[in-house]
């Protein structure tokens, strides 16, 4: 699958280091982020959500795009300090020098094989350096929360909200 097919629109600048939540689609985008961050998330989403994403390729692509859009919206509502933290993290993950320091390799994440990314995340998860634990948890939370925010992704959960209340939404 070509990861670049997921780069479908303007993108916001960061991902949440401390997030757990998402924004209604009724909100307007306030700022736009480098497309490279969208590529980065498009690379990591299939790793974090392996086993959860749809099996059919087109459905999978749609699910990833929805998740990317939700991540974008999530970041827009975070307080400034959290947004700055996330920007810092994403910039580190896109800088070859930082990547060398924190992963031991100059290869950009978007060019790495899935097994290499899994090893990297497992290493951060277990690492004695708090910064790496935090990076793992931040990426995990924003991706998991953004994926499961969408009703389109609740099929495997067999979770539906009640439909007997009529409102504006």
């Amino acid at each position: 699958m070509n990861r670049r097919t997921f780069i479908t629109g303007a993108f916001v600048s960061t991902a949440a280091l401390a997030v757990g939540v998402n924004l209604s689609t009724s909100f307007t985008r306030q700022e736009h982020v480098q497309s490279s961050h969208r590529m980065l998330f498009a690379t990591l989403i299939p790793i974090f959500l392996d086993g959860a994403l749809p099996d059919v390729a087109t459905h999978k692509e749609q699910a990833i795009n929805r998740t990317l859009n939700t991540i974008e919206a999530t970041i827009n509502v975070l307080p400034q300090e959290q947004r700055e933290e996330i920007t810092l993290l994403l910039n580190m993950l896109e800088s070859r020098f930082s990547l060398l320091l924190i992963t031991g390799s100059l290869t950009p994440l978007i060019l790495r094989q899935p097994f290499e990314l899994i090893d990297m995340l497992e290493s951060w998860r277990q690492h004695f350096i708090t910064l790496l634990n935090t990076a793992y948890l931040g990426l995990r939370e924003v991706i998991m929360a953004s994926y499961y925010a969408s009703p389109e992704h609740w099929g495997r959960l067999q979770y539906v909200k009640p439909t007997f209340v009529v409102g504006d939404n």
Binding site: A18, G20, Q80, E81, M144, S150, Q158, Y159, G167
Partner: protein
Amino acid sequence: MAIIDPIEVGLAAGWQHVDAGFLDKDKHFDADVVIVGTGAGGGTAAEILSQAGLKVLMIEAGGLKSSRHFDMEERTAYPNLYQQAAAMKTADKGIGIFQGRTVGGSTTINWTTSIRTPAPTLDFWQQQRSVSGLTTSSLQPWFEMMEQRLNIHQWDYQPNKNNAVLRDGCKKLGWQHTVIKRNVKGCWNTGYCGMGCPVNAKQSMLVTTIPSALNAGAVLVSRAKVTDIAHRQDNVTSLSAIAQNEFGQPTGVKLTFSARHYVLSAGAIHTPTLLMRAKTPDPHLLLGQTFLHPTLLSGAIFDEQVNGHSGAPQSIYSDEFVWSDGAAGALGYKLESAPVHPILIASKTIGFGESHAQLMAQFNHLQVIIALVRDGFNQDSPGGRIRLTDNSFALDYPLNDAFWQVAKRAFKSMAQLQFAAGAKQVLSMSDGQSMVSSLTQAEHAIDNMEIGLLKTIVASAHVMGGCPMGEDKTQAMIGSNGQSHYLENLSVFDGSMFPTSLGANPQLSIYAIVAKNATALAKKLIR
């Protein structure tokens, strides 16, 4: 079925509501009493003071959202109704904190659990924290008054399966358990309390005291964040605020407020933060000591469907382990259930990839118990400390060895309870843990678990303290009546007044103590 939205009806009838986000120029407001915050404390005070004939103005940083906005989706509720879009954490990211940020405050999004202040807590405050006049007997009429006002009654329906596990496990083990009282009227038992009640059954401040205050002529200014308290000698002279847009960002419009008396009800983080930023007197450095009931989670898989998203989120609790060693003794924990919704569970569980997907695939078979650790009662549990940052605040809350020791005990208790109730598998929410199939395996795994910061999931929905009450100025910022020890026309009416955590869900304690103190304040102001 269409639901009548009482907020829409009230606004149409002429309530005085100013959405600061839409103001295009600076504005000044005058009132007899200005209340900052509209949660449990602010809402209760607003009703009492306005009905006493005082001109009341309420300021709320969040927006005015009501049942027509409550679509039962986390993706809408969290950014619209929660502080920091429900992403608030302690400075070291060790504890995720859920707190409301909307008209009605946390009462708009809480799970309706209503518990009177435990007697050991009141006794401890009186004996160790110089609190006066707040005893079980002196508070009884205020509890009764607020229970009647908010229709707080024992939940007499069958608990949902998520809570039935807690009840059944306790019964089998002979552990104490109690049926919870809830502030609901005509509850549809849907289970979406945490996203705002879509049918206005929850008797939150949003649909009770705030409408009552507005009917009595009070003014509500929403999306206005108070940023400064001007004070001279022993008095507050005015408040300053900034208007905010839908995203919580400043619009550039500035607001000022003058009143005879000022009430801070901005919650246990923002009330002390505001006082600190305004450099109000604090000679004993008491502002900002915060308690959280840091909470552990244990998941269990049952053969039968649990459907933890459906039905009253909390209807049973157990105090078996809260006070085992007395208030000042070893840390204790309260056992409750937590509702199961996709974002909440996906983000508060562990792992990624296939293992996480497998857990989520068992979503409707997942049961969740939480253990809330009472904090602030001894030196092993000093709580956290708020500090100012350039633009905001940070909460330092070190999780120490004493906490991790009680966390292991809590994980064992939760696993024991879940297996006793028939769980097939149990998972302690701490990284590195796997599903286990027996209590023996669970105890072995917990004994050997690599427990600690950023490994173990810790959350909080109860922020308390930060501006403690009491008569001894070396221990307290405000009197037991909520009156500031340093500023004559300032009161604090919210969860920040608690000198320790409560050992119980806080809303009813805030209602009753504020009702008592606001009634006394009204009498004083209308003399």
